[in-house]
């Protein structure tokens, strides 16, 4: 019971801090002081106090977009185990639901963008679906590989199953999976080699383009949903890449949160040292990630 409460509390309150840590890391690399760690929370509070402007050409789809995106992310966060504690919600086959919750939220983000009738946002939507349909197989291959290793179809078992012993036995495929998942993590969350979350340059924007017309609370919901998505995929990654469990519930939570913060720093470092890829190179990298995960599955199936 306490675990469920901690799970919900961490999932609800922690995600924006990740963005703060990433921002601070990037600032440190650039030699700046940077915004405070809690800046994303201040931004969200500011946005929620504002009023909204809705274009007259938009329909209910435009207003529903952010809400559905956020609710899909909130359901998804209930499906994944955090820090080696079982998820509050789990059943056999929930990995399919998990993957398609992201699909649903992406569908509504793009359709809300198309609803504005702006050709610019249409372009962003086209890019988003193109890249995500290349990123999705990676997620599926990785989850299926882990399902095969753990012989279960429920995310709770799949993601709490990896242990140091499994790393020693199937090191190569686990390493491939970690690589593939990290690339997916960056791609799905529009982080730097794929998309720059800070840029507002027309030619290179992907995700930012689609949310240009949202304002006030709706935009706050989108930002929070994006932070939550980073948190969810980061948690999946941490569960596989850093499978350390002490058995003591509270220490495990501490380890999990520390690992997430380290991951945020790692993302910040990647963003600082890498340039954004050219648009034509992105599919190549995504296909590469898919091949890595498919290769991992091949090694496990053999």
């Amino acid at each position: 019971m306490t675990d469920i409460i901690i799970h919900c509390a961490v999932a609800l309150l922690f995600p924006p801090l990740l963005l703060g840590v990433i921002g601070k890391t990037k600032a440190a690399f650039a030699g700046r002081v940077g915004a405070p760690y809690l800046q994303p929370y201040f931004d969200l509070i500011k946005l929620f106090r504002k009023g909204s402007v809705f274009s007259e050409t938009t329909t209910w789809v435009f207003r529903a977009g952010p809400l559905i995106t956020l609710s899909a992310a909130l359901i998804a966060v209930l499906l994944i185990p955090l820090g080696h504690h079982g998820a509050p919600l789990s059943f056999s086959g929930d990995l399919i639901l998990f993957a398609y919750l992201f699909g649903l939220s992406r569908f509504f983000t793009t359709i809300a963008a198309l609803d504005t009738g702006s050709s610019f946002e249409g372009m962003g939507a086209a890019r988003e679906v193109t890249f995500s349909c290349l990123a999705e197989p990676t997620l599926f291959f990785s989850l299926l590989t882990l399902a095969r290793i753990s012989k279960s179809l429920s995310l709770s078992t799949i993601l709490t199953h990896p242990t140091p012993a499994i790393w020693l036995a199937a090191g190569a495929s686990m390493l491939l999976l970690v690589g593939a998942l990290f690339i997916t993590l960056l791609a799905e969350n529009c982080r730097i080699p794929f998309d720059d979350p800070n840029t507002h340059l027309e030619l290179t924007m992907i995700h930012e383009v689609m949310v240009l017309d949202h304002s006030g609370p709706a935009f706050g919901i989108i930002l929070y949903g994006a932070a939550l998505k980073l948190f969810i995929l980061g948690a999946v990654f941490i569960n596989i890449a850093f499978p350390v469990a002490t058995g003591n519930a509270l220490i495990d939570w501490g380890i999990f949160i520390a690992a997430m913060l380290v991951l945020a720093v790692a993302i910040g470092v990647v963003e600082s040292v890498m340039a954004r890829l050219r648009l034509v190179r992105i599919p190549q990298l995504l296909v590469g990630a898919t091949i890595l995960s498919a290769f991992a599955m091949l090694l496990v199936l053999r």
Binding site: A172, L176, P283, G288, I291, F295, L298, R302
Partner: protein
């Protein structure tokens, strides 16, 4: 130790895929050098130590890891080419084809009647996958240099297969094969330089028609 050898073979197969996906020639050459060094280390992991083994390891690392990349690198620098510009088949399709070939290699290796002690090792699938990837590079790229690299990768695949037989393979045969390879690469380097000097391009697809004086 054989599980560590398996991880190295996974690395060898990953290098195949990297080479299929990159357009930079120097990068490909370095990748093939790394692959050669890995192949040089491998025999030491699966066979007990002997003078014969040390000779093979040193020879392979010297030839595949140092000498051959050095020759090709020199040819690239002299011909002043940096990247393969327009392959016959694009990078993403060849990468996918490479992945499919690798998967097929695993399927095929399952069906081969292998000795029971080789059944669980990755050697046979890795060798077939490397062979096929090398073949893919050889057939889909335009530049003579890329084709030489493809040929090298193919040879690496054959070598991985030969690793299982190292005990039975006399040093002379091994040395002969390496020497052949070295001379082949050397000759190719000279040929490439001549092509680039004569025709200002080393696109082999233009070398099809005979020209009458």
């Amino acid at each position: 130790m054989s599980s560590f050898a398996d991880q190295l073979l996974v690395l060898v197969m990953l290098i195949n895929l990297i080479m299929l996906g990159t357009s930079r020639l120097m990068f490909s050459i370095r990748a093939v050098a790394v692959q050669g060094v890995i192949l040089g280390v491998l025999p030491g992991l699966i066979h007990p130590f002997s003078g014969h083994l040390a000779g093979i390891t040193a020879g392979i690392i010297l030839a595949k890891g140092v000498a051959i990349p050095y020759f090709i690198g020199g040819a690239v620098r002299k011909a002043q080419i940096r990247r393969e510009v327009e392959p016959f088949v694009g990078y993403v399709p060849t990468l996918l084809l490479g992945a499919i070939f690798t998967a097929l290699a695993f399927v095929f290796a399952e069906r081969l009647p292998l000795a029971p002690e080789h059944k669980d090792l990755l050697f046979v699938p890795a060798s077939i996958a490397t062979l096929l990837c090398g073949f893919l590079i050889l057939t889909t790229r335009r530049k003579a240099i890329s084709q030489v690299i493809g040929y090298l990768v193919m040879e690496n695949g054959i070598f991985v297969f030969g690793l299982l037989l190292t005990e039975a393979m006399p040093v002379m045969v091994e040395a002969g094969a390496l020497l052949d390879l070295l001379v082949g690469i050397f000759v190719m380097g000279i040929v490439i330089n001549h092509i680039s000097r004569e025709f200002s391009s080393i696109d082999t697809s233009r070398l099809r028609a005979l020209k009458e004086e």
